[in-house]
Amino acid sequence: MTIGNIIILVLLSASLSFFSFRLLHLLKLIALGQGALPLDRKAHRIKRLLIDGFGQRRVLKQFSGVGHFFIFWGFFFVSFGTIEGLISSIIPRFSFSFLGDPFYLFMNFGQDVFGLFVIGALLVSLYRRFVIRPVRMEGAFSHTVDALIIITLIFVLLIMSYGMRVIDPKPGWTPVADVLREFIFHGTVSSTSYSVAYASFEWIHHSVVLCFLIYILYSKHTHILFALPNIFLKPDKPLGLIEKLDLEDETVEHFGIQGITDFTKKDLLDLFACTECGRCQEACPAYITGKPLSPKKVILNLKEHLLEAGPALLKKSETEFSQPLYSDVINKDMLWSCTTCYACEEACPVGIAPMKKIIGIRQARVLMEGDFPEEAQRALRNIETQSNPWGLPQQQRGQWAEGLGIKTLAENPDVEYLFFAGCAGSYDQRYISVSKAIAAILQKAGIQFGILGNEELCTGDSAKRIGNDYLAQELAVANIAIFNRYGVRKIITSCPHCFNTLKNEYPEYGGCFEVIHHSDLIVDLITSGRLQPHSRLPVDTKKITYHDSCYLGRYNQIMDAPREVIARLKGSKLVELKRNRENSFCCGAGGGRMWMEEKIGTAINVARSREIIDSGVDTVATACPFCMNMLADGIKQEGRVEEIKIRDIAEIVAEAL
């Protein structure tokens, strides 16, 4: 061993100790969270890791993601070479060639080529960050410095490794290095004559690597380490499930998220996996319309709080309470602006869940403090007494179906389907016409169905997402008891919120039913020929668009059925809105926002309505009562009632029968 070898060894050990020390600290912070890390369904998780992680699926949704794709893979290859280089500086002549030729040669090739791509991508990213400055990247000054440091480090690292490879060629095809060598030295280089240059390159390269190792865990680039595990550990549950709290457990002292340690370990891992890319923020309807909520900010504030409060928390005994998050870390307007549209979680390339954290904090506000917007309290009280948010008489719930020849299950339980009309479908005059359209379609297709009438209760979606898990659970249990009493097995819903709750949340209470949204049902009926619409859109409908409901689309991946329903009708010209399908823009009603005033910024429904107006359509099809109400209001507010009609797909079909 030479002195050089020893120095490298010492430096590397120092740097690795720093790295491990920091890593351990972060892991300890993560371990402050509750529960275990989920590891079920490994095969599925691995598949997701391959697609979303290594395949960078969500990153690649945006063009700028291509750059990251190269950086990611470049980093992968470069690390291979870096490790090899480091070891060979300690143990001379070490090489990974023992891994076998094709592989080793391929890795060398990868390093060489991807290195160039990475340099390109870095330049582009510098250009984007400092010249284009996309909003989603905005952050504190320190973040910019941070980015600059990292970019510089990688940049230097790559240049150095090219330098080394130019002087000392590696086996295999390394086109970039070859071209450079050809260009600078016109052919071969005698490595001995350039040994000083090589050594300097090597030293600079190694110093950078060692600095990088130390720096990385103190910077925002913790994601380099945590992103892949985070993708792997992402909960493997239905997206639309907000898991029920264990309210029976007498030992639990508080419910919901009050302090940072109330989060699960995976939630805390999220904080370090965040790349601060801002994709979530860019998709967030609350943020876009000027509310103080940004899902990215939620994650960053929590991370900052954890790093700050962490050391003290680690010292304290486990039972001790962490500082409350509400107000300082996540304030009132951030908390209540969320429409639970799921856009943030859909957009996040590394499997972070900002929305679920928001709901957790809401739960604590509602269950522990009774502190939430007054209008929402009113809605919940109404649900408590009359089982609908408007407080209309429970005894009139079934009135909408009078005179339509629809029987209740009490009158005739021997039917195949329960049609669950939902609160809006039972009380809102506008949406009652959709309930009637669905009933007409079912009758026409000869489907045996019944309703619950006055026995039907609110499913509890709004209560759940406002944070009142107690009320939501009561409703779920009561509804399931009624379903079971009549032996219900298949449920048709017209409301995506009912659909999501019945389908994804009721199984937690032992209520497992086949839940079908009316859009899927209609497509089935048409496909199977049981329904034959005389295949024409109404004459005044020339250009039609479909607005995706978050709870149907992003939550439950029902995006084709409503479109297909429209496509089946002749004369239809379906125009897609700018933001559609899983990238669709919320109407503003979810998460209980339907029952609250929207006082800050532009109204979300107005923003979406403008997009609809800009698309130049004369009809918007919807498949959700809240969307319908919100968009109707937005379009009214923009003064376009005369020009743009809002119809549920069921109404369109019923009319074409």
Partner: protein
């Protein structure tokens, strides 16, 4: 500071009724019983006072077993204890009888302040709290819209025809409250759970030394009618002028909003 709140359990205001054979009304479906909304304001005011000085809040009610749930709600919201004078026939008592029952209970508690709603939204009786105060021989103020404790006295506003007045109240006293005096809080889950375990003290008329004579009603209901259970949905017809005339004459005849 000891505060008593009188509360009543009533069918939710969105209930729909029908007439039963014995000329009583019944609620259709499974009626949901709620705390009479004005009582919610009274309870909230009591808890606010309690929180500003130390003290305890006792809720007292007279009713059948339906009242239990409402008493639990009161405990969940922040009352310290609850007393229910249970009587399956409570509905047939008039204000005269009910006030005697409540006064008998309160006498044993000697509170500094009694709060109550200005009326119960079922029978709209508007008399029980004032009667209780008179039986107890303490002063009272009705339909208070603002209540502020000032040491050993309180300042309160109440509505009078065409305005409001401010009064100074010395204790013991009873106040009935108007809506809008405060915003009733939403109960928290731990308190709901605790309330489930708290005991609701039940009392009978015998324990209170009340005889049937004391509480015998001096009223009988001859009949009841249900003029408006649902909206009439009457579209007026004819010339606009005629429609307007028709409307005004309906409003006049039915004495609506005049």
């Amino acid at each position: 500071m000891k505060i008593v709140v009188l509360i009543k359990s009533v069918p939710d205001t969105a209930s729909i009724f029908k007439v039963a054979e014995d000329n009583k009304f019944v609620v259709i479906g499974n009626p949901k019983f709620i705390m009479s909304p004005y009582d919610e304001y009274a309870l909230e005011e009591a808890i606010k006072v309690k929180e500003s000085v130390s003290g305890e809040v006792v809720v007292v009610s007279f009713g059948d077993e339906n009242a239990l749930e409402v008493m639990r709600t009161a405990l969940a919201v922040g009352a310290d204890s609850a007393i229910l004078v249970e009587n399956s026939d409570a509905d047939s008592f008039t204000g005269k009888g009910v006030s005697k029952v409540l006064a008998a209970v309160i006498k044993t508690l000697s509170p500094n302040i009694i709060f109550a709603g200005k009326q119960a939204v079922d029978d709209d009786g508007c008399q029980v709290p004032e009667r209780v105060a008179e039986i107890l021989g303490i002063s009272h103020a009705s339909a208070v819209t603002r209540f502020e404790l000032q040491g050993l006295t309180a300042e309160a506003d109440r509505e009078v025809e065409g305005g409001y007045c401010t009064m100074e109240i010395t204790f013991p006293a009873l106040c009935t409250v108007e809506k809008g005096i405060n915003t009733p809080r939403y109960p928290t889950l731990p308190n709901i759970m605790k309330a489930k375990r708290k005991e609701i003290r039940k009392m009978t008329l015998e324990e209170l030394n009340l005889s049937a004579d004391d509480v015998r009603p001096g009223l009988t209901v001859n009949s009841i009618s249900l003029p408006r259970q649902e909206r009439l949905l009457k579209k007026l017809e004819g010339e606009i002028g005629a429609q307007v005339k028709q409307l005004t004459s309906i409003l006049r005849e039915e004495k609506i909003g005049l």
